[in-house]
């Protein structure tokens, strides 16, 4: 899987989980300010990403993730997908 494919997959999952149109899920979008996601929304989104990509994202790693782009990078790092 390459970065483009990964990005599309992650954005699709986020759009589904946050119940928002996929056009809004851009790498610059901030979860709280732009996508109106509360803490439970984020936990659910992370759980969905964990399940889809078969990775584990511990709580400490979630803390720094404020934007969609950071979430994509986090998953990419776990899977060893290069930019």
């Amino acid at each position: 899987m390459d970065m483009n494919e990964l990005q599309t997959k992650v954005c699709t999952i986020l759009a589904e989980n946050l119940s928002i149109p996929i056009e809004q899920v851009t790498p610059q979008a901030r979860f709280q300010e732009d996508l109106d996601a509360d803490s439970l929304d984020l936990v659910e989104a992370v759980l969905a990403l964990e399940e889809e990509f078969n990775v584990t994202i511990p709580e400490e790693e979630m803390e720094g993730v404020r934007t969609v782009g950071q979430a994509i990078q986090l998953v990419a790092d776990k899977l060893g997908v290069a930019a």
């Binding site: 439970l40 936990v43 659910e44 759980l47 969905a48 399940e51």
Partner: protein
Amino acid sequence: MAEATVALVTGASRGIGRAAALALARGGLHVAVGYRSDADGAEEVVAKAAADGADALAVPLDVEQENSIDEAFGRIEERLGRVRVLVNNAGFTKDGLAAKYSTTTWDTTMNVNLRGPFLCSRRALPGMLKARWGRIVNVASVAAIRGNAGQTAYTASKAGVMMFTKSLAREVGGRGITVNAVCPGFVETRMTEVQGEETRQRYLDMTPAGRFGTPEEVAGVIVFLAGGEAAYVNGAVITVDGGLSA
């Protein structure tokens, strides 16, 4: 829910857990009977549930071990489906005065009674969140509300589970998941039959009903909480104690 809902009851080889598993099975749910060491007891519960037409499965489950919990859930997901009703019933008690209470026993009490429900709930939540439907019923105790000499560890752990219930209820209530606690009083099970005659009489004197409860009477409330009719009951603490704590 088109197909049967899947329930997991921990510590279900006997006592309240057993009664709850059987009652849930009679209510049409698929039931996973969690047990730590009493495999025969668990299989007996499964056989009885099956006789009532339910799909039931005995699963080894030690709530003190994260691996055990993970494996058990995996097994259930494979055989029955994702757990939508979780009854955290497995419990441990050992009386002793604080001045002489061993650290090990304290830790075991906390790990089984408080940490166990947390670990099992955490493992069950993703499935419930995804489905936007779930029921978590924590079997606490009147010991969560009233102190008892000789039970500092037990009462602390049960009070802990009670507050865990309330906070979790607030976290996930908006997702169609309810989290409630049931507080049995003195119920005739193996946990209580080992208490001395003096203790038993003392409890009897304090219980307006003038008798001890049965596991089935507690199971009745658990089954209600696990069902569709209890959708607006969340973060509740329901005593089933014949008036003991009134």
